[in-house]
């Protein structure tokens, strides 16, 4: 710590902090325009100038480091005078078009001038009236309002690792622009909008919609990925108008990705469900809640009578709250009497839990979003966390900037590989071999942590299973040189602190349980704590839903229920195994693999209930559709990948006749003559609390090796010569985000990423349509020819309902890698 005096008051601050940071940390305000604590010191605006005793000149506090014994004065007449003149200079050419500027009311320039300004204008210059650049989607740039603080440019480059904006030109005529003055094409995180102190960079979707002073701001939690970011939502007239991040707020500390910032408007999509519907003679007919619930009740009862409760299954939702998922499983277990309940987590987080249990005897794998910070080595395995979990990804990038060695083993060039210190470009899908190879080298060279490993009884058997992963074989399969493998191994072993990370979920098919187990084996050999493995739960409430017992093998709080119910594979991919299926907030036909197999199952059902906020692909096959309220229309909690439970306030009125999921369940139970004993969410919360969900620290930890071998996905052959990999796109999470009009402006269909060589081989051009054929089906997609992907492989996202990529895919039922062999033709 450094001790200094500010305005006569003794304060202390972290070593390496600037005077400005020291002041702000101690609640001393110094005006600043070009400083942002996420960025390197800049010192451009000169507003933060202070006097330091013993120094001739006033100094910019944001660019002067705090050192022991400094005596700083932040508000002397001299300093105030300087600030006034700087503001005067800034305003000389500023258009002062506050009346038509959407920033007015929360603009730093306005606030500063209000505080320091002098009404005198010594110089009447022609005002800058450059017209706004409205070409790009989402972000509008009015350079006449820009004060060239450079924060947007630096945030984009330094913090986001993107570098899409530049300061173009020199001196007075400088403007903020993308390279070559083109329209902005970037990640669309919109972070530049939040960081801009003026109305120069604005959220296009907000333009002329609401004066900031009429916006009522309330915090809620993002409904997309497992990071669980706090969104500050601005409302007028009962409608959400915008979402922004506020510095230091939430687990995201004010950072947001584009989904959280722009994607909330999926709740206003045209195909929101507004009333219950029943399929009558092939047509969906709007009915009353009474009719719908009675219909379900009658059918359910007769199915239970005829076929028993185990003929009914249910699929829960990572988009629904803890309270709703809790009620859902309670409904299934207590009202229906069946443990047949599962979710998309079985393709992702469920596998992590399984591996966690097998390797460490633990339950409840939580990550720590800040875990990357300060780790000597970070190893990411076949994953781009900057896409699946953008805010966690930012922390990884920041760790790298601050000196962590970032090793990324991936076949495809991603943002993470671009920022890696070492990109181990392994062949697609060979992560397990890569990990086994590292472990074999460790074993051979005695680089294992003996203290831990020698206490593990299965160690020699495990060593035996690694025998076949000789460096030369591993090198052949992964494509990495032997030296590279050895270097990576040594780097990992010699580091004092490490993090291993990957993502896994239903939207990817190139990793499986094996991949996670291989990583746990490596954790053992390194003698690392299980915490060093950071695999975030995929969606907003995946973690919570698992804790709430939306799984066939355990109830809430990981309590064993006696009989294991049917899992998602048995329910969805074994036609006739069920008579009725109740789907809450999930769209298996889009998000789960093997669409035609699922359709066969759905068609075999006597009763399909789909309860959702929008008319999903799956809902089109339902006998009854129940309209649910969206995340903003109800109270509840989401538990993020860190295991932190966070409140969702009710912000707006429910759409149409929609009801919160828990209320629908409660009403349905009553219609069926049962009482769920819940009247409001506090009842549910109380009941959940009484079951106090246990975290893993309350379980005794063991260490067990789980040898895994390399099992590739469907191997390409002459008929299907290309390997198809599923990968997320940054602008979407799951499929609900595709109903956001705003996100659709930048990503509205599944693009097939294909290498130039392959594109030439199959005669495919950039942006041309292609026919993709797998053993299971055919779809038409647009091609994106890209140098980022290796030849022999194409990469496709699943999010988009109309792209129907799930037509092509299959599942293994065992949590295996399920990459697809496909054929590609021009269309």
């Amino acid at each position: 710590m450094v001790q200094l005096t500010i305005n006569g008051k003794k304060v202390s601050t972290k070593k390496g902090n600037t005077i400005l940071e020291a002041a702000l940390d101690n609640n001393i305000k110094i005006p600043h325009l070009c400083h942002d604590k996420r960025l390197m010191p800049y010192g451009g605006c000169r507003l933060c100038i202070v006097e330091i005793e013993g120094r001739k000149k006033p100094e910019a506090s944001c660019a002067t480091f705090a050192t022991d014994g400094l005596s700083v004065w932040t508000d002397t007449p001299k300093v105030i005078k300087i600030r006034q003149t700087v503001l005067e200079l800034i305003l000389v050419h500023h258009p002062l078009d506050c009346p038509v500027c959407d920033k007015a009311g929360e603009c730093d320039i306005q606030d500063l001038v209000y505080q320091y300004g002098s009404p005198r204008t010594r110089f009447v210059a022609e005002k800058n009236h450059a017209l706004p650049d409205t070409r790009g989607p989402l972000v509008e740039l009015t350079s006449s309002r820009c004060v060239l603080c450079g924060k947007c440019v630096r945030l984009c480059a330094e913090h986001q690792g993107k570098g899409a904006l530049g300061l173009i030109g020199r001196g007075f005529p400088t403007v903020v622009q993308p390279a070559f003055g083109e329209a902005l094409e970037c990640d669309f995180c919109g972070q530049c909008i939040d960081v801009c102190p003026t109305g120069a960079l604005m959220n296009k979707s907000l333009k002329f919609k609401a004066r900031p002073w009429f916006l009522e701001e309330k915090d809620s939690i993002c409904s997309f990925c497992g990071c669980g970011c706090t969104l500050t939502l601005g409302l007028t007239d009962g409608k959400i108008q915008r979402s922004r991040g506020m510095q230091d707020r939430g687990v995201n500390r004010g950072n947001l990705c584009g989904r959280g910032r722009f994607g909330f408007d999926y709740i206003y999509s045209e195909n929101r469900l507004r009333s219950p519907m029943i399929n009558k003679g092939g047509e969906l007919v709007t009915v009353t809640w009474d009719e719908a619930l009675n219909y379900i009740s009658d059918r359910m009862k007769s199915i239970i009578n005829a076929h028993g409760p185990s003929s009914i299954g249910a699929i829960g939702s990572p988009r629904c709250t803890n309270e709703e998922n809790y009620c859902f499983q309670k409904f299934m277990r207590n009202v229906v009497g069946s443990n047949n309940i599962d979710s998309s987590a079985s393709f992702g987080y469920g596998l992590v839990e399984k591996a966690w249990h097998m390797a460490f005897g633990l339950s409840g794998h939580r990550i720590d979003l800040k875990y990357p910070t300060g780790k000597e080595v970070i190893l990411a395995i076949e994953s781009d966390l900057t896409v699946t979990h953008p805010v966690f990804g930012l922390n990884i990038l920041q760790a790298q900037r601050e000196g962590s060695e970032l090793i990324v083993a991936d076949s495809r060039e991603t943002k993470l590989t671009r920022h890696s210190t070492r990109w181990a470009r392994i062949k697609q899908g060979t992560g397990v071999v890569f990990l086994n190879g590292i472990m074999r080298i460790m074993m051979d060279r005695g680089l294992i942590d003996n203290q831990i490993v020698l206490h593990m009884k299965d160690v020699s058997a495990f060593e035996e299973t690694l025998k076949e992963y000789t460096p030369s074989k591993v090198s052949e399969i992964t494509g990495l040189s032997r030296d590279e493998l050895v270097t990576i191994t040594e780097t990992l072993v010699h580091a004092k602190t490490r993090m291993l990370t990957l993502s896994i979920g239903v939207s990817e098919n190139s990793k499986g349980l094996d991949t996670v187990l291989a990583a746990t084996n490596l954790i053992h050999l390194l003698g690392e704590s299980p915490d060093a493995l950071q695999i975030p739960a995929e969606y907003a409430n995946t973690f919570g839903l698992y804790q709430m017992g939306v799984r066939p093998d355990a109830g809430p709080a990981y309590q064993w229920t006696g009989v294991e119910g049917k899992n998602i594979f048995e329910m969805l991919y074994e036609p006739y195994s069920l008579k009725a299926l109740y789907i809450m907030g999930a769209d298996p036909l889009v998000n789960f693999p093997d669409k035609s197999e699922i359709i066969t199952t759905l068609k075999s059902l006597y009763l399909l209930i789909v309860q959702d906020i929008a008319l999903t692909e799956t809902a089109k096959f339902a006998h009854v559709i129940l309209p649910a309220s969206s995340w903003a229309e109800k109270e509840g909690t989401y538990t993020n990948a860190e295991g932190v439970s966070q409140m969702l306030p009710r912000l707006i009125e429910p759409a149409g006749q929609s009801l919160p999921d828990w209320k629908i369940l409660k009403n349905l139970a009553r219609t069926m003559g049962e009482d769920m004993a819940v009247h409001d969410t506090t009842d549910i919360v109380r009941e959940i609390d009484s079951l106090r969900v246990k975290y893993y620290d309350s379980f005794p930890m063991t260490r067990i090796f789980n040898p895994v071998h390399y099992v590739p996905g469907e191997e390409p052959d002459t008929e299907y010569p290309v390997n198809m990999v599923l990968r997320d796109v940054l602008q979407h999470a799951g499929s609900m985000s595709t109903r956001s009009k705003t996100l659709n402006l930048i990503s509205s269909e599944a693009l097939l990423e294909i290498n130039r060589t392959d594109a030439d081989r199959f005669g495919i051009s950039h942006n041309g349509y292609v026919k993709v054929i797998s053993r299971r089906g055919t779809v038409y997609l647009k091609a994106a020819v890209s140098d980022s992907v290796p030849d022999g492989n194409v990469y496709v996202p699943t999010h988009f309902p109309h792209s129907a990529v799930s037509t092509l895919t299959h599942q293994s039922g065992k949590g295996r890698i399920t990459t697809e062999a496909v054929r590609i033709e021009t269309a």
Binding site: M40, P41, Y42, G43, G44, C45, R46, L47, I49, K56, K57, P58, A60, A63, F65, I82, T85, V86, E88, L89, I90, V92, H93, R122, F123, A125, V147, L148, G150, G166, L167, G169, R170, G171, F172, T174
Partner: protein, 422 residues
């Protein structure tokens, strides 16, 4: 005085390595390879050499910071941006005596433990680029540069990086940004380049002329060198004289030669029989001196005493036909154009100053404009991010200090009474 920096300059083939060797070249390097790095720095320290780029920072002190930093690699950058208006002193070294520079760089590299050097060359010197690259090839072939210097296993390679015409890229941190491929604007200090410069590694930036002094220092020894010229900043110095003189050009003279001697004896006095009116003694960004102040010694310390600076040693001479408002206006056009735009006072201030000067020069000045000029420049002094803005403000302040009535006349007469130099 025997010339050191311009030695051999009249030989049309002076750039050739054989000519250079014939004249005793590379003797300093041959000696340096037998010395310990610390001993080389000690010699430079004894010599009292101060940087010739403009700021006059003691060279040995700068080197020590970088040499003692344990990080590796270290970079040595020769600042050949020569952007200060009126300055053309580095050019003869670059074009006529390139091996002197290369030899100086090689010795410095040994002292610093650097294996990679850069010459950041002014964009408008295309000939120098060809000459330097050819010379580097020659020196490599002869073992004065490369991977095994003079068979001693020492490595030092030099890359020529040509600028794109921005004055600010002569400022050392902006120069480093530019070499890294970034936008040319100054970095915040600390960290200083000596510890965290190019690619965050210890980096030395020295002017061409500074480095060209090194071989001589090593050859004759620091003590002997310190006897040349002014006591507190010794050595030979290049003065480039331009403007209203009979013999404009580059003159190598001992540091501390008086301004009067430079103008009247060496540059042949004022042209066309006119009388001297004012001198800008050290490049455009140094404060102007009136005719009566030219009895000062041209070195870093004495020039501060008379309220100006030695700067780059670029003497711009103005006779009594020249309008000071016009000169100030022209200067401000330059500064406005070259302001990088990073900081508000410089970016907005230079623009505003230029606009006011423009109207005064065009006879459209308003009452109070002189005070306005002083006010605006006052908002810049000491508050800009780098010395460019400070310098720009200083130019206006000095001009008004010495020639205020001329500004006021422009305003009251509503016209310029002098011939414009534009």
């Amino acid at each position: 005085m025997e010339t050191v920096l311009l030695k051999n300059i009249d030989n049309p083939k002076s750039a050739d390595i054989d000519e250079y060797l014939k004249a005793g070249g590379y003797r300093g390097l041959s000696k340096a390879v037998t010395l310990e790095p610390a001993d080389i720095i000690e010699e430079v320290s004894k010599s009292g050499l101060k940087g010739r780029g403009g700021a006059g920072f003691p060279t040995a002190m700068k080197w020590r910071f970088a040499a003692t930093d344990p990080k590796f690699p270290k970079y040595l950058i020769c600042n050949a941006d020569e952007g200060e208006p009126g300055t053309f002193k580095d050019r003869p070294i670059l074009e006529k005596n390139p091996h002197l520079l290369l030899e100086g760089m090689a010795i410095s590299a040994i002292a610093l433990g650097s294996e990679q050097g850069y010459i950041y060359l002014r964009g408008e010197y295309p000939d120098a680029r060809d000459i330097l690259e050819a010379s580097i090839r020659q020196a490599n072939d002869r073992g004065y540069l490369g991977d095994d210097i003079l068979g001693k296993g020492l490595t030092f390679n030099i890359h020529v990086h040509q600028g794109a015409g921005a004055y600010i890229c002569g400022e050392e941190t902006a120069l480093i940004e530019s070499i890294e491929g970034k936008r040319g604007q100054p970095r915040s200090k600390p960290p200083f380049p000596v510890n965290q410069g190019a690619w965050e590694m210890p980096t030395i930036v020295n002017n061409v002329e500074t480095l060209a002094n090194i071989p001589y220092i090593i050859e004759i020894g620091g003590d002997a060198y310190s006897g040349i010229g002014s006591e507190d900043c010794p050595g030979p110095k290049l003065f480039c004289v331009s403007g209203s003189v009979n013999r404009p050009g580059v003159y190598e003279l001992p540091m501390g030669t008086s301004l009067r001697e430079i103008i009247h004896d060496h540059a042949g006095g004022i042209k066309n029989g006119r009388t001297l009116k004012a001198v800008i003694p050290g490049g455009l960004s140094t404060p102007v001196l009136p005719a009566e102040s030219i009895d000062c010694r041209m070195d870093f310390i004495s020039m501060q005493g008379v309220g100006s600076m030695l700067g780059s040693g670029a003497v711009i001479v103005m006779d009594d036909s020249i309008c000071m408002v016009s000169v100030t206006y022209r200067a401000m056009k330059f500064f406005e154009h070259e302001s990088c735009g990073k900081c508000v006072p410089c970016r907005e201030g230079t623009d505003w100053l230029r606009k006011v000067l423009e109207r005064v020069e065009n006879g459209k000045g308003r009452e109070g404009d002189v005070d306005l000029l002083l006010y605006i420049s006052g908002t810049m002094t000491g508050r800009t991010f780098c010395p460019l803005g400070d310098g720009a403000a200083g130019v206006v302040q000095a001009m008004i200090k010495h020639f205020r009535t001329e500004f006021e006349e422009h305003i009251s007469e509503k016209k310029c009474t002098y011939k414009s130099i534009n």
